[in-house]
């Protein structure tokens, strides 16, 4: 039997069916009662679940199937608009109607003809199942990709249908297929902010915006690909707030986000995302991530930044102790270590080209040198580390595990032992994007690290787009 929370019953039912035990008994703990009181309340119901004789329904075995009907609706465009906009009322904890097939906004209706045209964007067959092109978080190369939370599989055509609905063009499809290869994560109990960044020649080929406003409206490719990311989570993965996803939703963007890297603006010696992830400069990849810890940005005004670098004036210069001394200065000192004030782990630093150039000019001749600097400046005393939330679970295995820099058990270390807030220098990631305005955005939830002690189990991973052309 399972103890969960009442608002997670629908999620538990869905998961227990997927794992072959649809009759699993579960009871709800309280989210608010004091622990001892709630435990006393639950004791006998728990034991009742273990001893109460099985019902006839609970004794059944069989094969659960949910046939996939390729044509979901036949009718006029007007009738189809109503069909695809239909909602379902979700009770507690939502208490509102939610759209079944869309993000709430109207979609491009997926007629057979439109999907056929979309499929001209790839050489892959419509009935090909989405599989992994490399070993990764989900498994070995060649394995079918499972889409959370309903652990579904998908074909190239099913991805193309979502691409049509999102407003993609056929040329965008390889990017959407590469995002699909990620399994389109939505977290465990959270509908995370979904973001993706394209690196390589395809960005220009399909007209993506990598300059100013790259995360905002106005670019068909950026907006439609980002929206397809989210629509795939809803339709292919079956994610629905209150049913199998909890929490607020995406604070980043209501329709997923996709933008492109400014490979033309990389400082000398700095690699683009494609090369950083083992691909060639002329290969196209997409880094697929989730903002697991939220979005940080606008730490300083662009004018304040210019004052720092051009003349050594302003609050940034005062804090950094360089008042009166023109730059370039290491502006990262302004945001580190405070960036980890609320949460540990890697960050995706999306910085304007000029800001990367300043880092290069003061001596960071590669991204790796910046990663090393960030890592070295993330250390805090263990006594302070103990006062944080997330370290209580995976990172320290409930303080019973081994601290990775010392190789010693956490309980054997003194309070003044210095521990890093980032587990590995390359858990952080730099993306050069944007225009001339001096802005750096930080997405909490860095690169994926294959380690069960990691806080960010959904860190960003790069997928080949060319493999899906």
């Amino acid at each position: 039997m399972v103890v969960d929370y009442e608002d997670q019953h629908l999620m538990m039912k869905s998961n227990s069916l997927k794992f072959g035990v649809p009759g699993l008994r579960f009871i709800a703990a309280s989210r608010t009662l004091p622990g001892p009181e709630d435990a006393a309340r639950l004791l006998h119901p728990i034991m009742d679940c273990l001893t109460r004789p099985l019902t006839e329904e609970e004794k059944k075995s069989g094969l659960w199937t949910a046939p996939y009907n390729r044509v979901i609706f036949e009718g006029t465009m007007e009738e189809a608009e109503a069909f695809f906009q239909q909602t379902k009322y979700i009770g507690n904890p939502v208490n509102a109607p939610l759209n079944i097939y869309t993000d709430g906004l109207p979609v491009v209706l997926p007629t057979e003809e439109r999907v056929k045209k979309m499929l001209t964007g790839t050489s892959h067959k419509p009935d090909e199942v989405i599989t992994l092109h490399e070993d990764g978080r989900q498994g070995k190369k060649g394995q079918d990709v499972m889409f959370l939370p309903k652990l579904r599989s998908a074909t190239v055509e099913q991805v193309a249908i979502n691409a049509v609905m999102a407003g993609c063009k056929p040329a965008d499809l390889p990017v959407v297929l590469a995002i699909a290869e990620s399994g389109v994560g939505v977290g465990t109990t959270v509908f995370f902010s979904q973001w993706a960044c394209v690196s390589g020649p395809i960005a220009k080929e399909i007209g993506m915006n990598s300059g100013i406003g790259m995360m905002g409206p106005g670019s068909q490719a950026n907006s439609a690909i980002g929206r397809a990311y989210q629509l795939m989570a809803i339709n292919i993965g079956g994610a629905m707030p209150g049913v199998n996803r909890m929490n607020f939703g995406s604070p980043f963007n209501t329709a997923g986000t996709c933008f492109a890297e400014r490979t033309d603006a990389l400082p000398p010696g700095w690699k683009g995302l494609n090369e950083e992830h083992g691909f060639k400069k002329d290969e196209s990849v997409v880094l697929v991530g989730l903002a697991t810890g939220g979005i940080y940005g606008a730490q300083f005004s662009p004018g304040g930044y210019r004052s720092l670098q051009r003349s050594g004036h302003g609050g940034v210069a005062r804090r950094m102790g360089v008042k009166g001394t023109p730059g370039p200065h290491n502006w990262l000192e302004y945001i580190v270590p405070d960036i980890w004030a609320g949460r540990e782990g890697g960050f995706i630093f999306v910085m304007a080209p000029e800001m990367a150039k300043h880092l290069h000019d003061i001596g960071f001749k590669s991204k790796d040198e910046v990663y090393k600097w960030l890592y070295e400046h993330s250390f805090i005393p263990l006594g302070k580390y103990r006062l944080r939330s997330w370290p209580d679970e995976a990172p320290t295995q409930g303080w019973l595990g081994v601290e990775r820099t010392s190789g010693k058990h956490w309980k054997d270390l003194s309070d003044d032992y210095m521990v890093p807030l980032v587990s590995n220098p390359t858990q952080n990631c730099i993306i050069i994007a944007g225009g001339d305005e001096e802005v750096c955005l930080q997405i909490a939830g860095g690169r994926y690290m294959p380690d069960p002690h990691e806080l960010d189990r959904f860190g960003a991973i790069a997928y080949s787009i060319d493999a899906w052309r």
Binding site: L43, L54, I72, E74, T76, L109, N235, I236, L400
Partner: protein, 91 residues
């Protein structure tokens, strides 16, 4: 009359699942081995563990804690000697 079209299904494919019945329930707790599997941050489970052991001393309790949403699995040998499992999810 407006033209009619066929619209394709954007949903993913649910693979067939072989379902199994629930394990037979316990007719008595005396001398039985019940495994308490704890996931996530310690909270309610601390008190549940204490109170279960106090209230049901006739049970042979075993406990594993994972401190993540993923439970620690029982070994094949442990499965042979375990009569029931309580999985406490704190997420």
């Amino acid at each position: 009359m407006a033209e009619k079209f066929k619209f394709l299904n954007p949903q993913g494919t649910d693979e067939p699942v072989e379902t199994v019945p629930l394990a037979p329930r316990l007719t008595s707790l005396d001398g039985k081995t019940i495994h308490f599997c704890v996931t996530g941050e310690p909270d309610l489970t601390i008190f549940l563990e204490r109170q279960l052991k106090t209230e049901y001393p006739q049970v042979n309790w075993t406990v594993k804690k994972s401190y993540t949403p993923v439970p620690q699995r029982l070994s094949d040998e442990e499965r042979k000697t375990t009569d029931a499992v309580i999985l406490a999810v704190s997420w």
